[in-house]
């Protein structure tokens, strides 16, 4: 194939027309300068308006355009084609493990449900002061690497444990947020939060495969957060054991 032609193999599925999904091949002139995968999708959509994908901010902060690009999950808008091209070919598929609505658009209901399950909001029932609650810069630093999550689902949908138990294992994205609230000195429901996580599935189905870390487009580390949660759960357990011991 001529080197100035890009071959894009795209997963296509329209539930109203297609019995099964299929891979459609597009050929397009290689742009003069390096462009993002999202720009490539825009060009293809100008050729074939039936292509469907989500997008919004086009700068990697809204988390709309997570997809599987040449086998790896990422955000189309901040993935330069030069970084993923293999022999002038790109394969685009929807995020794995979630039902496909159409083409590159997946149904994220299950992903959001897991996020909601961890009670992703600050819980502090003490009377709020007239001004802000104080927090030292050191305590605030503990939230760095956690609060920046954009809910793109690249991590959870690359996680075999999540594929296997998407209803019971919370998945890396939700667990990262679970730890974001455990780590926040302003949140007072630490014990209740830990108790909610202490069943065999919610956290413990994480086996440290680390796909979440390798795909996170924001450079976050859900695996580390999960480790911290496990440590907190163990400490919690120890305290319970000590109490039991004292009773003996």
């Amino acid at each position: 194939m001529a080197t100035n032609i890009l071959e894009v193999n795209m997963y296509r599925y329209n539930p109203e027309e297609d019995k099964f999904p299929y891979i459609k091949q597009y050929q397009i002139e290689k742009p003069a300068k390096d462009i993002m995968v999202l720009d490539l999708l825009h060009l293809l959509k100008e050729q074939d308006e039936s292509i469907s994908y989500r997008r919004s901010c086009r700068e990697g902060v809204c988390g709309s355009d997570g997809m599987n690009i040449n086998g790896k999950n990422g955000l189309a808008c901040i993935t330069p084609i030069s970084s993923v091209l293999k022999k002038n070919k790109i394969e685009l598929r929807p995020l794995p493990g979630l039902p496909v609505i159409r083409d590159l658009v997946v149904d994220m209901t299950e992903f959001y449900a897991q996020y909601e399950k961890i009670k992703p909001f600050l819980q502090n029932s003490t009377t709020a002061p007239e001004q802000e609650r104080l927090q030292s810069p050191e305590d605030r630093d503990k939230l760095d690497g956690l609060y920046e999550c954009i809910l793109c689902a690249c991590c959870s949908t690359s996680c075999p444990s999540f594929w296997w138990n998407p209803d019971k294992f919370l998945g890396p994205a939700a667990l990262l947020q679970a730890y974001r609230f455990l780590a926040d000195t302003r949140d007072l429901k630490t014990n209740e939060r830990l108790e909610d996580l202490s069943d065999p599935f919610s956290v413990y189905r994480c086996h440290g495969i680390m796909n979440c870390v390798s795909v996170c487009p924001k450079g976050l580390n859900p695996n580390k957060a999960i480790g911290e949660i496990k440590t907190m759960l163990l400490k919690d357990k120890k305290e319970i054991i000590t109490t039991d011991g004292a009773m003996n």
Binding site: E17, S52, E59, F121, E132, R133, E148
Partner: protein
């Protein structure tokens, strides 16, 4: 395709309907969810994908953290001056005085603000900020969560809406307003993007919280979804728009990509240089230099470029220098900027300057409202409330930003007026307010546009017409404007109008048909662009962001007023600016220098 009419679509009924899941929409819905009224947020994207997420530098508010003697009245003075005196002073007073309460609420909700050593919220300097009514030097008034304040704010609001059990219609797209024979708004026609199902969403109160429309320009910091849907729906329904000529061009959009680089960069000590390495803002704004109002900085940059002192091969951009701040400051205070710059400019600001250029950023105009978010029409020279219709945030023009918005004031606008709108609707509906039902014909009328598009079998392509529209606006209605060029632009718009009315939707399918959404969005963009063009051509003076090189001076005698665009006659009339704040004396217009 099926022709939709009032008898073959379903009706979903609510007390309050909020169109848009960004900052203002979710702040309003939070207030309403707590009230027990049946409320729904209709959002064309999952709420955390809304454009508020892209706000970086912070939320400006006199919370007296960086400076215990700070005063909301100084913030008010700066905002009035920044607006070039056509911001309504009663609204600005409300914004600045209620602000601290609204910001502390966000902190209580969990927003992860950066902190000072004493544990209070971190505040940084931004452009146009002063102490003591401009006499006390630079203030540091912008509350920040690193350079991801919008993200932190939007997620916090979404999280608290989850907590309160707000009802979300995510990935539903509102098409047109339904109004009854009394000209009251009774809800909208909308469809589910996911399945294509069409419904009449009926409500006693409908809030347009649909954000801006920066996508009318070819080069913009705005998300692809910023297509002015709410404002366009209001215009099509015959309701006016105010100050549409006022578009903010942010000084620092990444050259070529358009992504925003926060003003906080200059607040933290960064500055702009031309090709000679000169810090040229010293010439244009000797006192505050790079922290002058955005309109002033953007114009200075364009002048540098026009006079041949631009950077790069084509001398067509400017450099933002940050490397002197050092890696520690940049990594701690501006981590998101470093990331964006590496991705989109292929430049690491720790070592090299970022190539930037003024880029369309913010719509100061919008649906005119009062402090309660109630939209109004102009009948026989007086304001007349439109029952059932509200607007908040960038979609609205309550007018706190006048002719030029100050950095950090948009996030404050969102929370203060989203909150105020929610509170007002709650009281209004509980005390018996509401609107009369629409009849079948009213609903059918609102379905017209969708039916026309669905039945199109020939016509123009959305992507092509959109490019034409954006190029036209970019060429004739940009940073500098001139009558003869704008006339040309208006003529071009006439031609584009015909194409926009004749779009061909080839793909008629129902499941996640983004082509249908994009066609309607283009029609929305057009309404906003046309209002902009006509208002810009009418205002023959220069004020704030509206710079006419054929009328370079501010003309207070003729134009110390709002422009009000009437979509039915396509003409502009004048409306008085409010100079009656309740607690302080009004700030009279003086010459605006920095």
């Amino acid at each position: 395709m099926t022709n939709y009419n009032s008898s073959n679509i379903k009706t979903l009924e609510f007390d309050a309907l909020i169109i848009g899941g960004g900052g203002s929409g979710m702040r309003a819905s939070l207030e309403l969810a707590k009230s027990g009224l049946k409320t729904a947020v209709v959002s064309k994207v999952f709420p955390t994908r809304s454009h508020t997420v892209s706000a970086q530098g912070g939320i400006t508010c006199a919370i007296q953290s960086a400076d215990p003697n700070d005063d909301w009245r100084w913030h008010m003075y700066d905002t009035v001056k920044g607006a070039d005196y056509i911001g309504d002073q009663d609204a600005i007073e409300y914004l600045c005085s209620e602000g601290p309460k609204a910001v502390f609420e966000l902190e209580h909700m969990g927003l992860p603000f950066s902190r000072f050593e004493n544990g209070r919220i971190y505040q940084r300097p931004f452009g146009g900020q002063s102490k003591d009514y401009g006499k006390g030097g630079q203030a540091a008034r912008t509350c920040a969560a690193a350079d991801r304040t919008g993200h932190a704010l939007l997620h916090t609001l979404y999280q608290n809406n989850v907590k309160e059990g707000t009802n979300f219609l995510n990935e539903w797209f509102a098409v047109d307003i339904v109004k009854n024979d009394q000209n009251e708004v009774t809800g909208v026609i909308a469809f589910s993007i996911e399945y294509g199902e069409v419904a009449y969403l009926k409500a006693q109160s409908t809030v347009m919280a649909t954000g801006g429309a920066g996508r009318i320009y070819a080069s913009t910091t705005n998300a692809l979804i910023n297509t002015g849907d709410g404002l366009a729906m209001a215009l099509r329904a015959g309701y006016p728009a105010q100050d549409m000529e006022m578009w903010q061009f942010h000084p620092t959009g990444i050259y070529g990509a358009g992504s925003l680089v926060t003003e906080g960069c200059r607040g933290e000590g960064g500055y702009l240089i031309n090709k000679d390495g000169e810090r040229f803002m010293e010439r244009y704004a000797p006192n505050v230099k790079d922290l002058a109002g955005r309109d002033v900085v953007a114009r200075s940059m364009v002048l540098e470029i026009l006079e041949g002192r631009g950077c790069g091969e084509n001398n067509d951009h400017i450099y933002l220098k940050l490397d002197h701040l050092g890696a520690d400051v940049l990594n701690a205070k501006l981590p998101g900027i470093c990331e964006l710059s590496r991705t989109f400019a292929h430049v690491d600001p720790i070592y090299e300057p970022i190539p930037v250029v003024p880029t369309c950023h913010y719509m100061m105009g919008g649906t005119p409202t009062n402090i309660n978010g109630q939209a109004f029409n102009r009948i026989d020279g007086t304001d007349s409330i439109v029952p059932g219709l509200f607007a908040a945030g960038e979609a609205a023009c309550v007018s706190v930003h006048g002719a030029n918005r100050l950095g950090g004031n948009s996030l404050l606008d969102l929370v203060v007026f989203g909150r105020a709108t929610g509170m007002f609707i709650q009281e209004d509906l509980k005390s018996g307010g509401g609107v009369k039902s629409a009849d079948k014909d009213d609903i059918d009328n609102a379905l017209d546009r969708l039916n026309t598009l669905n039945n199109s079998d020939s016509g123009y392509e959305t992507a092509e017409v959109k490019k034409e529209l954006q190029q036209c606006m970019q060429n004739y209605f940009g940073v500098f404007r001139r009558g003869e060029y704008m006339k040309k632009g208006l003529d071009e718009l006439q031609e584009i109008r015909e194409k926009v009315d004749l779009l061909h939707l080839k793909d008629k399918s129902n499941a996640f048909n983004t082509s249908r959404v994009e066609a309607i969005e283009l029609q929305n963009l057009f309404e906003v662009a046309e209002a902009t063009a006509i208002a810009a051509y009418s205002r023959d003076e220069s004020r704030g962001a509206h710079a006419r090189d054929d009328f370079p001076d501010r003309d207070d005698e003729r134009w110390l007023c709002h422009s009000l665009y009437d979509p039915l006659s396509k003409t502009v009339s004048k409306r008085d600016v409010n100079f009656n704040p309740s607690e302080v004396e009004a700030f009279p217009p003086i010459v605006r220098t920095y």
